[in-house]
């Protein structure tokens, strides 16, 4: 969509799907499987969302934070970079990068709160830890901080297709794509299109001619849509005990 995406570092950093779900050797030694890995990332996306709701930031900040977190784990291990710290630190960094700063103190407060409520799944971390991790995340991200999201394209595209009434439904679909690694693999406007495609099939709208007029590869759009639908099929819930089991694995010495 936006002409600048194609010259952005986001575009240059897009990965092949095979590059994304690779369990780091250090984690593999501890018996972490690809499924475990996906589950933890999904769980941490959820954690970011929960913290974000407490500290009140825009959806964009949440999306950027999740993207940072997912990028970090294409390069670093979960055993060295505890997801329960990486997640809030990514939120902290994303808030700054998206120009709506969150106080470290406030974040630490809600980390403690969630920890008190649900002990094993969250870990207690302090301001000092967040700030230290912020620096490590910056390094892991190779200092690339600008991320594009499907939201803006979504609004434009829906308007263009005359489907403004679908905004809420498709917006929700886009939010859910952050439970997957799609943002690391596909250009954001194609993710938006896939969500519109699902919506039009689901709500029985004929958008064939509209899609035909767009100069996009419909195969890619349909593939993304299938991925999203598969995800809904397989991960209706985040099984909490399974998440805890993975953290137990990570805590073990290999």
């Amino acid at each position: 969509m936006a002409a600048n995406f194609w010259t952005s570092t986001h575009y240059k950093q897009l990965l092949d799907p095979e590059e994304v779900d690779v369990v780091h050797p250090l984690d593999r030694e501890r018996g972490v499987t690809v499924e475990d890995f996906k589950l933890v990332k999904m769980h941490m996306a959820q954690y970011i969302l929960r913290l974000a709701q407490h500290v009140k930031v825009r959806q964009r900040v949440i999306a950027t934070a999740v993207t940072y977190m997912r990028r970090v784990y294409t390069r670093k291990s979960m055993s060295e970079y505890d997801p329960r710290l990486v997640a809030p630190a990514c939120l902290y960094l994303a808030a700054k990068a998206e120009e709506s700063t969150v106080q470290a103190k406030a974040l630490a407060f809600f980390i403690r709160k969630l920890y008190a409520e649900e002990k094993p799944r969250y870990e207690r971390y302090e301001i000092k830890d967040i700030l230290e991790m912020e620096m490590k995340i910056l390094e892991a991200l190779n200092y690339y901080l600008v991320v594009f999201h499907p939201y803006r394209s979504l609004t434009h595209l829906l308007q263009d297709a005359g489907m403004d009434d679908m905004t809420q439904f498709t917006w929700g679909l886009v939010n859910d794509t952050y439970k997957m690694d799609l943002i690391l693999v596909h250009p954001p406007h194609l993710i938006a299109l896939a969500c519109i495609y699902i919506a039009s099939v689901y709500k029985d709208r004929d958008t064939t001619s509209w899609f035909e007029e767009l100069r996009v590869d419909m195969n890619v759009v349909k593939n993304i849509a299938v991925e999203i639908l598969d995800f809904y099929e397989n991960h209706k819930l985040i099984a909490e005990d399974r998440v805890n089991a993975v953290f137990n694995k990570l805590a073990l010495k290999p």
């Binding site: 700054k96 120009e99 709506s100 470290a104 103190k105 700030l131 620096m135 910056l138 901080l145 600008v146």
Partner: protein, 418 residues
């Protein structure tokens, strides 16, 4: 702290040399990149005392410079943490445009001016294509490298303007470079603010002194209107709806030629288009680059033939932009220009009478350059400022009051705990 141990390597790669100065958020020092042999400038961003981790301004700069790679934009070569502080590695730049403009030993030909302006606009067009507003364009943020290349630097105030409804603070730019819409408090603005600032830089290159030296925001507008006439509703329909709009007494525009007697017709035409009041009608950077000024003779000087200040004994890097040379900004009081006394009026400016504006205007029309000898000057050239107990205004930057204000503004909420 400031690196007395000169032989020490930082992060196994950089050989630390002398400290160049104190930047906005930490020490800047010169270093040799042992990997490439290149001379670099390293900004050390203090984190230790900060309760909010990596400095917000520094983070902005990192974020944007990683996206902006261009020959006319300063290169962020590397970034690394070291002893708990973040270090940013930039290409080393010899001087800046302010030093060039200020150096009385330098003669700038029309072709030289064209070249400096062209490089400025080329850097800016890259920013705007990527939806980045620089928001702090001024000669001292335009750095000049060893081969004469001019590069935009200091992106600490820059930001992405993608979301159309986002409101921004209007407290950006050093005052003399602030567009009228900003001075009237607009919160929704675009690339046109950078164009205005670039026009001020263009004018400064032509005049060899800052063009519109307001001493307050009100006075800045007065100076602008004195130069270009008070804008009319037809010129700028939206003006009256701006948050801080105040009515100014009508003054007609003097001929632009009278302000820039030495400039070519093409230069004046471009300048007028860049100084257009209504931001919607102001020329874009891309259009400015396509203006015939750049294709007509004389062609822009090639960068490495451009005049630059003689190298100093102990190299003061331009990166130390916050630091004022002890002798003071000579450009403010060149002895041969009677216009120097004009800032004096600021002494009475507190009352901000509209009449003062008119007075200013009358004297501003007087050509400042070139024909001073032929004119019967009303004010003796040797006039001592101290008579008025005031001095010409210092080149303003975003001052601490602005900064505090900035921090309070919606897009910079950044409170320290405690």
């Amino acid at each position: 702290m400031t690196g007395l141990d000169l032989s020490k390597k930082v992060a196994d790669r950089y050989l630390k040399r002398e400290v160049l100065g104190e930047g906005t958020y930490g020490v800047v020092y010169k270093a040799i990149d042992t990997k490439t042999g290149q001379v670099v400038a390293i900004k050390k961003i203090r984190i230790g005392k900060q309760k909010e981790g990596v400095n917000f301004t520094a983070l902005r700069e990192i974020k944007l410079l990683k996206e902006l790679k261009d020959p006319n934009i300063i290169e962020l070569i590397d970034a690394f943490p070291h002893k708990g502080n973040l270090h940013l590695v930039f290409e080393f730049m010899e001087t800046d445009l302010e030093a060039v403009i200020r150096d009385r030993n330098i003669f700038l030909s029309p072709a030289d001016i064209k070249s400096y302006l062209q490089m400025t606009l080329k850097g800016l067009v890259v920013c705007h294509k990527k939806w980045v507003l620089h928001r702090d364009m001024k000669p001292n943020n335009l750095l000049i490298g060893p081969n004469g290349q001019l590069k935009l630097a200091d992106f600490g105030l820059a930001r992405i303007f993608g979301s159309p409804d986002r409101r921004f603070t209007h407290q950006v730019f050093a005052r003399w470079y602030r567009a009228p819409e900003l001075l009237f408090g607009t919160k929704q603005y675009g690339p046109a603010v950078d164009v205005w600032a670039a026009a001020c830089i263009f004018a400064e290159l032509l005049l060899r002194r800052p063009f519109l030296q307001g001493s307050s925001d009100i006075d800045q507008l007065g100076k602008i209107f004195a130069a270009f006439g008070t804008p009319t509703a037809s010129q700028w329909p939206d003006m009256v709806y701006l948050p801080d709009y105040v009515e100014y007494q009508y003054v007609p525009a003097p001929p632009l030629r009278s302000l820039f007697p030495m400039a070519s017709d093409d230069a004046l035409d471009l300048l007028a288009k860049m100084f257009t009041y209504d931001p919607k009608n102001r020329i874009s950077v891309q259009q400015a680059l396509e203006h015939r000024y750049f294709s007509s003779a004389p062609l822009p000087t090639v960068p490495d033939k451009l005049p630059r200040p003689a190298p100093k004994r102990e190299s003061h890097n331009s990166r130390t932009s916050d630091f004022n040379p002890p002798e003071g900004p000579t450009v403010l009081s060149p002895p041969r220009k009677s216009r120097r006394v004009m800032p004096e009026r600021e002494g009475f400016e507190g009352n901000a009478y509209q009449n003062d504006k008119l007075d200013d205007h009358v004297s501003e029309v007087r050509p400042g350059l070139g024909d001073h000898a032929s004119r019967n000057e009303q004010v003796p050239m040797s006039l001592d400022f101290s008579i008025f107990g005031a001095r010409p205004p210092n080149r303003p930057t975003i001052n601490s009051a602005d900064r505090t204000h900035l921090k309070r503004k919606l897009d910079l909420e950044f409170q320290h705990p405690e």
